[in-house]
């Protein structure tokens, strides 16, 4: 338990990740599913970014020519998270366009109902 309080950021990140994961898995509304996915990714990126932070150091932008390791935080997690954010926005755009197409066809946002009706109707357009 003490470990959890030492890692407050990571703990929050995991809780947010868990809430997003649950929403993505269990919520039947497509829009809510997508928001859940976005939150899940945000939680994961918070977890990753919190690993790079070092108490009392500055952002990794060189000022006054000081290139000492003790002056700046770890730049790697920030770079990885930047890449990750792009991935998550692409995926949510794709999911939203899928939602629009499905709504145009089935007039509902409920994924279970969509699946049921898709199974019934067969292969034709």
């Amino acid at each position: 338990m003490i470990g959890l309080f030492n890692n407050l950021e990571a703990t929050t990140a995991i809780i947010v990740f868990g809430i997003g994961f649950t929403t993505l898995m269990l919520n039947r509304n497509m829009i809510k599913k997508i928001i859940g996915f976005d939150m899940m990714d945000c939680g994961m990126y918070l977890f990753l970014a919190s690993k790079g932070y070092i108490e009392g150091r500055l952002a990794p932008i060189v000022v006054n020519g000081i290139t000492d390791m003790d002056a700046y935080i770890n730049p790697i997690p920030a770079g990885l998270v930047l890449t990750g954010i792009v991935v998550s926005v692409s995926v949510s755009a794709v999911m939203l366009s899928l939602t629009i197409r499905l709504y145009r066809k089935y007039h509902t946002l409920d994924i279970d109902e969509i699946m049921m009706r898709a199974r019934e109707e067969g292969d034709d357009e």
Binding site: E9, I35, G36, L46, I85, S92
Partner: protein, 92 residues
């Protein structure tokens, strides 16, 4: 910093819980925008300004806009359907 951070983290969890339990998609999207902004502030506090800018522009900006337009499109489809339905009824 030392007291601000836990408060912001708490806000983050609260927003996440509210998104999960809100029935209306529109309110969920707005709460998600708030979530993104808080995330952006947290990253600014954690000395990652690159992430803060990107999250503010993408999470609170573009992703939310896309969600809004998707929701609007869905309503537009609904309106179109009901209009057509009414016209059919009138013709009868």
């Amino acid at each position: 910093m030392s007291f601000l951070m836990p408060v912001l983290l708490l806000f983050l969890i609260v927003c996440a819980v509210f998104v999960a339990f809100t029935k209306n998609p529109l309110s969920a999207i707005i709460i998600y925008m708030a979530f993104s902004l808080i995330m952006s502030i947290i990253w600014a506090l954690m000395q990652s300004p690159d992430l803060a800018i990107t999250e503010a522009a993408v999470g609170a900006g573009v992703t939310s806009i896309l969600m809004f337009v998707a929701l609007k499109k869905i309503h537009a489809i609904d309106v179109k359907e009901t209009k057509e339905g009414k016209e059919d009824k009138d013709n009868e």
